[in-house]
Amino acid sequence: MGKKSKLTIGGFFAGILSGLLGVGGGIIMVPIMISYFNLSQHQAHATSLAVIVPTAIASSIIYGFHGQLDMSVAMNLAIGSIIGAAIGAKTMKKIPAAQLKRMFGVLLVLVGIRMISL
């Protein structure tokens, strides 16, 4: 199977995940690009963002058709989120990210358990 069809199939699964769970899909695309196409971590991260933009647009149009959007909440979250991301990216260099990542992983597991048992 060619490189192009492998990428398309990988993208397809990322898209399924994106629409199903309301996430970007980078969690699938980044490892695929690193393991199978020899892209660096940075290139894979950058490329996944470029894919996420049109994918999220397509997903939100469909969610919008089904009435599952709230523009004012989205606006406020986006404003907070963009400012926060800039702060986070700057602070990243100053703190031990690996340890923080583990702590966040534990938090995710706990939140996940709560979501299942609700």
């Binding site: 192009k4 898209g15 399924i16 995940l17 994106s18 629409g19 199903l20 769970l21 996430v23 970007g24 969690i27 695309m29 690009m33 196409f37 892209l39 971590q41 940075h42 290139q43 991260h45 950058a46 490329t47 963002l49 470029a50 894919v51 996420i52 999220a56 647009i57 397509a58 939100s60 969610y63 089904h66 959007l69 709230d70 989205a74 406020n76 979250l77 986006a78 404003i79 907070g80 989120s81 963009i82 400012i83 926060g84 991301a85 800039a86 702060i87 986070g88 602070t91 990210a97 966040f104 992983g105 534990v106 995710l108 597991v109 706990l110 939140v111 996940g112 979501m115 299942i116 609700l118």
Partner: protein, 122 residues
């Protein structure tokens, strides 16, 4: 007013975490909207997708300038991803909120475990 401040603050926290850890916004935003803002799972996911658009766009813009985006790979990935999401975004509307929340829960447990055992970057 309190709701607006709470929403802005939630977004800020989600943004800081995703900038800090390199995870996407959705994985932080959806639980925040469900547990703190009290939205339903479907609406939380729809809003998450909307918020991801400008966030990913601003990230992609900076990385485009650094010439880090591989557009050929991006094209084929996007081709697959858009087809995939057209199917699942429609399908998901038929999934009851309770089950969807459980599926999301399993997804973040998996992601959490992956983060706990991730190798430290060189």
């Amino acid at each position: 007013m309190i709701m607006i401040i709470l929403t802005l603050f939630s977004g800020l926290c989600a943004g800081v975490l995703s900038g800090l850890l390199g995870v996407g916004g959705g994985i932080v935003l959806v639980p925040v909207m469900v547990f703190i803002l009290g939205l339903t799972q479907h609406t939380a996911q729809g809003i998450s997708l909307l918020v991801i658009i400008p966030t990913a766009l601003s990230g992609a813009y900076h990385l485009h300038k650094e010439k880090l985006i591989n557009y050929q790979a991006a094209f084929y990935l996007a081709l697959g991803a858009i087809s995939g999401t057209l199917i699942s975004s429609n399908f998901v509307q038929m999934v009851p909120a309770k089950y969807l929340q459980e599926i999301f829960g399993i997804f973040i447990i998996f992601t959490g475990i992956k983060m706990i055992f991730a190798k430290t970057k060189k």
